[in-house]
């Protein structure tokens, strides 16, 4: 049963990830990417990491993908006007991706990866993660807020229109 769920989510994620890369319409790419994120959230639920599953849906599928959709519709990229790379370049890119896959898989097959001896299924819950986050990782957590502030100011600076600049 659990294996069927695992394989279903895995194939859903891989197929929709391929569709992100190969679909012509950017909006379809965004929608397939959302499907990928939901499949990954399902994987997080299987791994008993409920907090990450919820955050993945809220942050990725919710906020980031809405931002992408907003920009696509803002720039009116519905039309399929993308200039395609030459077929030789695409072929070389796919070949090099497959070579990267082969190298990584070869290295990982040789690796001696052992799961931990005792398993505590409760680490992914909000309570335990919160304790770790606010004790061991308090400084990075506060720095993340500074990072957000910088990103916010940077996005506004970049997006602001200078006087005299033409409108879209």
């Amino acid at each position: 049963m659990i294996q069927n769920v695992f394989w279903f989510l895995t194939f859903l994620a891989i197929i929709s990830a391929c569709m992100v890369v190969f679909s012509r319409n950017p909006i379809h790419s965004v929608l397939y990417l959302i499907i990928t994120f939901f499949a990954l959230s399902g994987h997080y639920l299987l791994l008993n990491a409920q907090f990450l599953a919820v955050v993945n849906i809220i942050v990725y599928a919710g906020a980031i993908m809405v931002l992408f959709l907003f920009v696509i519709m803002f720039l009116n990229l519905r039309r399929e006007t993308e200039v395609q790379k030459p077929i030789a370049v695409k072929f070389a890119a796919v070949i090099s991706g497959l070579i990267l896959l082969a190298v990584l898989l070869g290295a990982l097959l040789k690796a001696d990866i052992q799961p931990g001896s005792e398993v505590d299924s409760q680490i992914g819950l909000v309570e335990n993660l919160g304790k770790v986050l606010f004790s061991d990782f308090l400084l990075p957590f506060e720095l993340a807020s500074v990072l957000f502030l910088v990103a916010m100011v940077g996005a506004i600076m970049l997006g602001k229109r200078d006087p005299g600049e033409p409108t879209i």
């Binding site: 659990i2 990491a49 993308e82 200039v83 370049v89 991706g97 990584l104 680490i123």
Partner: protein, 108 residues
Amino acid sequence: MEVPDVIKTIPLNWYIFFATFLFCIGVVGVLIRRNALIVLMCVELMLNAVNLLFTSFSAYRSDPQGQIFVFFIMVVAAAEVSVGLAIIVMLYRNLKSVDVGILNKLKW
């Protein structure tokens, strides 16, 4: 302490291979597409492959630090996307295109 079913039935290697596949799909996407938005989405795909790897190791080894790292990766990804999309909007305003092939002024 109850062990989740997936840890008993699915070996950790399968998660590692799955994350590797997703990462390579993201790399191929960055290489073959010229639309800057799709390139950014493929970067997100790669980040998510790494997130899945962190989470699976964290769950199999019962170490919460991996999941904290995933949390920070999501934070950085959100900041990166907001700045990246602002840059793309600015490019579109100046060049009327989001084609990364035009941006070759710094090419050697």
